[in-house]
């Protein structure tokens, strides 16, 4: 980008190396000199938090794999062995299981932030779609990881999710047998899930690389939703400004993470998963992990199997189409008064569906779940396309600098008053 000083190695060795592999220059331009909008708020630290969580999950996961045995007869006991016998095994496993929840919490904040500030709009459509792919890979990874301890809830979860494929007409059952390596979830299923659970995080890391690449092509969105016009006035250097802010965000996040790990490590786990899997018995009240509950509620709200499975899939896949479903040219929710109301209703629908997904089936719960599912799809398919046409948005600031300075130095009124 213009205005950023290019990297010049100081030492002779540095110069020698840089002329052969300019990796320090790449790091410098990406994470030191990279210009970031000067008005980013703390919601923008969740990218760094997510990168940290991916690293933490890979480190703890690789360690757990050194002690875990992927076998239907031994998996459950090997997890207990990790918890009781392996040095600090309890810590590493609790870091990993709670880490998955923290990872999802952070990704949901990151996604809702993207929706609120219109971060998926041009020129960031590919960036957003890569994010949806990461989210899908995360769900697949988390699901397969949940199966590994081979508790009764692991087994029920594996059964229900793989049975979603039986809804496919004609070939569904064949696909399910292929996924299971048998006629039901069993030893072959566990082994392949372990293999894939180890593989997918590295695929996530690869797509994260593309995600960051795409981000560095378009530059970051910001709370005002107006693009950088003047690098000197509108941006600050990534280091130290964003680096320190991200580190602070990660630190605060780590406090919450550590609170869960050390004080309430089983709060997000299910007691039924402390009972070993039994293929002949399904626990009386099965629920998925909290981060999948809204989709589970959508599945349960629909009385037809195939339609239910399609709706579940559509609820996720539609997110990839947000750049085109949202027709408004104004990015930030800050300048979209009507969108803002619907946005919070959408959040309420997601949270409400999540709550209902955790409850037992009843007529009232199903009815409410149907209304909320309509709200979810209504926001994506009706509200967002129509708002772009009918909504009267507020005037945008002339630039990021104008918006920032208008707020902090009203006396010096930098921009013409028309920008207010």
């Amino acid at each position: 980008m213009s205005g950023t000083p290019s990297y010049v190695p100081k030492s002779a060795i540095g110069k020698w190396f840089e002329s052969r592999l300019p990796i320090m220059g790449l790091v410098h331009s990406s994470f030191v000199a990279f210009p970031v909008p000067r008005n980013l708020n703390y919601l923008w630290t969740f990218g760094a938090i997510l990168a940290f969580m991916l690293g933490a999950q890979i480190v703890t996961g690789v360690i757990l794999a050194m002690h875990y045995v992927p076998s239907a007869t031994e998996a459950f006991a090997s997890v207990e062995h990790i918890m009781r016998d392996v040095n600090f095994g309890w810590l590493i496993r609790y870091l990993h299981t709670n880490g998955a929840s923290m990872f999802f919490f952070a990704v949901y904040v990151h996604m809702f932030r993207g929706i609120y500030y219109g971060s998926y709009k041009a020129p960031r459509e590919v960036l957003w779609i890569l994010g949806v792919i990461i989210y899908l890979l995360m769900m697949a990874t988390a699901f397969m990881g949940y199966v590994l301890p081979w508790g009764s809830m692991s087994f029920a979860g594996a059964t229900v999710i793989t049975n979603l494929f039986t809804a496919i007409p004609l070939v569904g059952t064949g696909v399910a047998h292929w996924l299971w390596g048998g006629y039901a979830v069993g030893d072959p299923t566990l082994n392949r899930f372990f293999s894939l659970h180890y593989l997918l995080p590295f695929m996530i890391a690869g797509v994260v690389g593309l995600h960051i690449w795409a981000l560095h092509v378009s530059g970051q969105n910001n709370p005002e939703g107006v693009e950088v016009k003047d690098v000197e006035r509108d941006t600050v250097a990534f280091t130290p400004y964003a680096t320190i802010k991200d580190l602070f965000g990660v630190s605060v996040f780590l406090i919450v993470y550590a609170w869960f790990v050390f004080y309430i490590p089983t709060y997000l786990l299910d007691a039924d998963n402390s009972v070993q899997a039994n293929p002949l018995v399904t626990p009386a009240h099965i629920v998925p992990e909290w981060y999948l509950l809204p989709f589970y509620a959508i599945l349960r709200a629909i009385p037809n199997k195939l339609v239910g499975v399609v709706a579940l899939g559509a609820a996720i896949v539609l997110l990839a189409f947000l750049p085109w479903l949202d027709t408004s040219s104004v990015k930030s929710g800050k300048y979209r008064p009507v969108f803002r109301v619907f946005f919070w209703l959408f959040v309420a629908c997601c949270v409400g569906l999540g709550y209902l997904g955790s409850q037992e089936v009843s007529d009232t719960a199903t009815l409410i779940a149907r209304i909320l599912a309509l709200g979810y799809f209504g926001f994506l398919l009706v509200v967002l396309p129509l708002l772009g046409v009918f909504e009267k948005t507020k005037p945008l600031p002339a630039s990021i600098a104008d918006a920032v300075l208008a707020k902090t130095k009203p006396a010096e009124a930098v921009a013409p008053p028309a920008s207010h």
């Binding site: 292929w178 293929p279 018995v281 399904t282 099965i286 349960r300 009385p303 037809n304 199997k305």
Partner: protein, 172 residues
């Protein structure tokens, strides 16, 4: 094309298409073993039948046996349960099938114990029809294992079985 006449399609086009075709067949034949290895293996296929002794199963009792890694319900039905199943009009059924078509002997109902919705194991003697009710998404089956309510689309399937003696049945 000017004076340098090149026949169209020419020799190069032919080589391109045949090479690509052979390459595609080659790629597919390499891909198939990589895909097929995930299908049920020989040891799984070998475990295809079990024998069940019916003599200890009391009237009204449901016994769950493991067949092909999953549950199969063997239900010794009472007179009332049989009558309920037989007297249900087909018009009330989501997946219409007579009770007679689902049993070899009326007092013995043998059905898969896998809910046809998403594969959970339904609980016996539960639900409005006193058949089964699935704990996962609330599908209700009657005393013939037929779907009556909820999201499951089909009746509990009847596995292949044969009576070896009056009190012994072979499933699979």
């Amino acid at each position: 094309m000017s004076s340098a006449v090149i026949e169209n399609p020419n020799r190069r086009d032919f080589l391109f298409i045949t090479t690509a075709a052979v390459g595609a067949v080659g790629a597919a034949s390499v891909a198939w073993p990589l895909i097929d290895q995930m299908n049920p293996d020989a040891s799984t296929l070998a475990l295809s039948s079990i024998e069940v002794d019916l003599s200890p199963i009391a009237e009204g009792q449901i016994v769950t046996v493991k067949w092909r890694g999953g549950p199969v319900f063997v239900r010794h039905r009472t007179k009332k349960e049989i009558d309920d199943a037989v007297n249900t009009p087909l018009s009330e059924l989501k997946d219409p099938q007579t009770d007679q078509a689902r049993v070899q002997k009326p007092e013995w109902l043998i059905v898969s114990g896998v809910c046809t919705h998403l594969g959970c194991v339904p609980l016996g003697h539960e639900g409005q029809y006193d058949g089964w009710k699935c704990p996962c998404h609330g599908s209700v089956y009657d005393t013939s294992g037929r779907i009556r309510q909820g999201p499951a689309p089909l009746n509990l399937p009847v596995p292949e079985y044969a009576f070896l003696t009056a009190t012994k049945v072979k499933i699979g």
